[in-house]
């Protein structure tokens, strides 16, 4: 009778602690972190070793800013828990704690491990983006503080303006950077690109071409600068000069798919379809998702009289042009399919 009774008591007590853990987790899920903290502390007093209680208590503490008291348990759960969901939650909370306290170095290995374990997880990728952004911001801030007069400050300013679509400002900053360090590679290239993003007027193209030429003087093996020069020459209707540039770009970088495409297009223009097809097939192998390559391959097959191959390429293009499932366009399209009130 006593044993049964004791056993029954133990069972009731165990149930009670288990209930408290479940209750605490539920409170955590509902965002009632202070309540969850109190409930889980109580549960842990009843059952000190419960891993779920420890982890969720740490998560609750972290959620209300108690990162310091939560860190050890979060770290333990992240590295040792058998439950992937718990590992993920603990890792995310730990990374957030480190970032909140400007501990970028500590956050980095956590985020790297999270990305390894959960490579397609939106929350993980978001944390990773935040981390890298923060790291970038911190370093740039230091650069502006410690080396305000360096050409790198102008370069990084230009790159930021480019991202913001403020190309005129970007051009001005690249020019300042070049003035400070005329021998730095890549500056003329970026300036030329910003000029082209700003405008396609003949003057802009002429200026950009000169900058690409300056880049090539510093770095004669820059295949992309050769390619861009070819594009400008093409726009200026100088196909002979353009093809020489594209061929040089290919010689420097044989797997440069865009250059393969550019040469192939000029071969097609010259009715050398067999040559064009060879180049385009190679480009398609290198970049199977490249619509331009498949489009030009389709036309080259058609022009060579290989209609069946052309139609096969058309199917590839049709497939590539279909927006990926779940893309925002599709979502809006579906919304739009509801018959408008007309």
């Amino acid at each position: 009778m006593r044993g049964i009774s004791l056993a029954a008591l133990f069972f009731v007590a165990a149930l009670s602690a288990q209930d408290r853990v479940a209750e605490g987790i539920e409170e955590f899920r509902q965002g009632k972190y202070a309540d969850a903290q109190a409930t889980l502390e109580q549960a842990l007093r009843q059952k000190p070793g419960d891993p779920h209680a420890r982890t969720f208590l740490a998560l609750s503490r972290a959620a209300v800013g108690g990162c310091d008291s939560a860190a050890n348990d979060l770290s333990a759960a992240f590295t040792t828990s058998q439950d992937a969901d718990l590992r993920r939650l603990a890792g995310l909370a730990l990374a957030q704690c480190h970032l909140a306290h400007n501990r970028v170095d500590a956050a980095l290995p956590v985020v790297v491990e999270l990305e390894k374990q959960f490579p397609a997880d939106a929350d993980v990728l978001y944390e990773a983006a935040k981390l890298h952004m923060k790291a970038w911001n911190d370093v740039v801030f230091q650069m502006f503080q410690k080396t305000p007069a360096s050409y790198r400050v102008n370069q990084v300013s230009a790159e930021i303006f480019e991202v913001q679509g403020r190309y005129a400002d970007a051009v001005a900053e690249y020019r300042k950077a070049i003035e400070k360090n005329p021998a730095a590679v890549n500056l003329h290239f970026r300036l030329a690109r910003a000029l082209l993003m700003q405008s396609h007027t003949p003057d802009a193209m002429h200026e950009a071409r000169e900058e690409f030429a300056a880049e090539l003087k510093l770095n004669p093996n820059d295949a992309v600068a050769e390619y861009e020069t070819g594009q400008i020459l093409l726009a200026e209707n100088k196909p002979q000069e353009a093809v020489a540039r594209f061929e040089r770009a290919l010689a420097l970088a044989p797997d440069f798919a865009e250059a393969l495409l550019a040469v192939a297009k000029l071969r097609s223009d010259a009715k050398r379809y067999t040559d064009a097809i060879q180049l385009l097939e190679r480009a398609a192998r290198l970049q199977p998702e490249n619509e331009s390559v498949h489009y030009n391959l389709m036309l080259a097959y058609r022009n060579a009289g290989r209609n069946a191959d052309a139609l096969r390429e058309k199917d590839v293009i049709d497939k590539l042009q279909r927006p990926p499932a779940g893309e925002f366009t599709e979502f809006l399209k579906k919304l739009g399919e509801k018959a408008p009130n007309q």
Binding site: T201, L234, Y295, L299, A310, K333, P340
Partner: protein, 544 residues
């Protein structure tokens, strides 16, 4: 040696200056002084404010002089201006029965009942209006009677009369842009498709639902039947369609249809000859640009610009895109010849109405396109893309290339407007082609060349007998001094507009056309020789 070089330079300069036109906007003195409202001027809340409207050169009263019909958005009316024959036009909208109110988009002309008077179709967001020309005196709205009343408010854009089955009765093709209504369309900034360079702008076309194009078959008794499904026209339904261009692109004697589409592949309906069409733009190389990318196609026009005997296609596109010149390889397959033809440099304009015409009458068609952005808000950015902008005029270099001469071609070309439709025709029959342009919220532009072209010319007015009376679909080859020009009588075209149904040919120094060959839609071939230049010549289909 030095002398030779100097002479060569002098000769080049002389040739250049001799061939430069001097286009002036004479709209006000010609009586075209009313403004045509079309949505907002500072900002546009809905896409429907951006796409209108077209304009037409037609001779509605058969007096041999081209009249002008201009379409309007709400707050105004479509207006018909009668050509008084003295350089002045008179507004005859009321007496002609053409008063309207709504979002008029496109206009196309053709004699659908073969009574000898040119009828009009007007497309709108909302529906269609078929105006039967009653004896050249007034127009009767016969939309319902003809069976063209639509079951819902459709966003009809470009249109064309065409005889796709060559039965002598003109059918109707109508492009549709998308499904739109004011209640459900998101407002500026409401989703990612409602932004332009960080400015909240009207939404679309991306994100708005597609619609399909329509083909109406002429039953020969004044009524039409919707054959969109049976003909295969409605099958492509993933494109936002605007400008319509008809023509026999594969030279099989049947009329095909090219449609310029916005942010989606353009369409090329190939006429199979059995009442059906197959859409083949992609594989024929006329859907995308040379990189396989979709363009924002607006207007389209066609000619044989390089004199190789095949009709080519030109399409206007959005800013930051090149216009597209599709060179016909024969049998209706095309190559993108934009760069090779020297048309790749102008990328800051949103192009709309366009046309090949021979401003200097040298026998080679030049090219004009008009422009204006869809977002008035773009002016806030202070960049080189502007809401109102100028036209672009390219001179045909006679070697498959063009030269941009816009800045040397007179003040009319340089005027800035939010232009849309443009129609081409010689309204005073002096051998020099004029252009009428519909500007949003402004009076139209009427461009006249103040510099009389040096070359001789001829205008051919074709009259079908077995074929449809307007001769739409007839192809004409004019040969002078070994150079043959190819043109086709077309309804619709440019951007939602109607050019003169007569065909204008520049003849250079020739005072006669050595050979004029007409392939009528009926299949009848007619050859005329040694026709005199510098006049309008009417040619009637020879039927035994």
């Amino acid at each position: 040696m030095k002398r030779a070089v100097v002479l060569l330079v002098a000769a080049t300069l002389a040739a250049d200056s001799a061939e430069l036109p001097d286009f002036r906007n004479i709209a006000t003195q010609a009586g075209l002084d009313q403004s045509f409202p079309n949505g907002g001027n500072e900002s546009k809340k809905y896409i429907v404010e951006t796409t209108g409207s077209g304009v037409a050169f037609i001779d509605y009263n058969n007096d041999g002089l081209l009249d002008i019909f201009v379409l309007s958005g709400p707050g105004g009316t479509n207006r018909l201006y009668r050509n008084d024959g003295n350089g002045h036009f008179t507004d005859v909208t009321e007496e002609a029965g053409l008063k309207s109110n709504g979002w008029s988009q496109g206009v196309c002309a053709g004699d659908f009942d073969n009574d000898g008077f040119t009828d009009l179709l007007v497309t709108s967001w909302g529906g269609l209006a078929l105006y039967r020309n009653v004896d050249g005196r007034r127009f009767e709205n016969v939309t319902a009677k003809a069976g063209l009343k639509q079951d819902r408010a459709r966003y009809n854009t470009g249109c064309a009369f065409l005889d796709y089955d060559n039965d002598g009765h003109l059918d109707i093709f109508v492009a549709n842009y998308l499904k739109f209504d004011f209640a459900t369309t998101p407002k500026p900034g409401e989703n990612p498709y409602c932004w332009y360079r960080d400015i909240a702008v009207n939404c679309g076309p991306r994100g708005l639902p597609f619609d399909h194009n329509i083909l109406y078959h002429n039953n020969g008794n004044g009524t039409f039947t919707d054959v969109s499904d049976a003909s295969g026209i409605s099958k492509p339904n993933q494109s936002y369609c605007l400008g319509v261009l008809t023509g026999d692109f594969n030279q099989d004697g049947r009329t095909d249809i090219f449609v310029a589409c916005d942010q989606t592949p353009s369409l090329l309906y190939i006429n199979r000859g059995d009442g059906t069409f197959s859409e083949e733009a992609l594989v024929r190389g006329a859907a995308l640009d040379e990189n396989g990318k979709t363009m924002s196609g607006m207007g389209a026009t066609s000619t044989d610009y390089d004199g190789d005997g095949k009709p080519d296609i030109f399409r206007t596109n959005f800013s930051d895109e090149r216009e597209t010149l599709y060179h016909n390889r024969g049998s209706g397959d095309f190559d993108d010849a934009t760069i090779a033809a020297g048309l790749a440099r102008n990328t800051r304009w949103v192009g709309w109405g366009c046309g090949f015409f021979d401003f200097d009458n040298d026998g080679w068609k030049d090219l004009l396109l008009v422009s204006g952005h869809v977002f008035p808000e773009v002016d806030r950015l202070n960049i080189d893309i502007r809401y109102k902008d100028r036209a672009i005029l390219y001179r045909n270099n006679r070697d498959g290339t063009f030269t941009d001469i816009s800045e040397l071609a007179g003040p009319g070309i340089l005027e800035r407007h939010a232009a849309r439709g443009a129609a081409f025709g010689d309204y005073d029959n002096d051998g020099s082609v004029e252009i009428v342009i519909n500007n949003q919220n402004e009076p139209p532009t009427l461009l006249k060349n103040a510099h009389k072209p040096a070359g001789h010319w001829a205008i051919l007015k074709l009259e079908g007998v077995k074929s449809n009376r307007s001769a739409i679909g007839a192809q004409v080859r004019v040969t002078v001094e070994g150079h043959t020009q190819l043109e086709e009588v077309r309804s619709g075209g440019s951007y939602l507009s109607q050019n003169d149904l007569r065909l204008h040919f520049g003849l250079g120094s020739a005072t006669k056309m050595e050979r004029v060959e007409i392939r009528w839609p009926s299949g009848i071939r007619q050859v005329e020789r040694d026709l005199d230049a510098d006049r309008v010549i009417t040619l009637r289909e020879p039927v035994k």
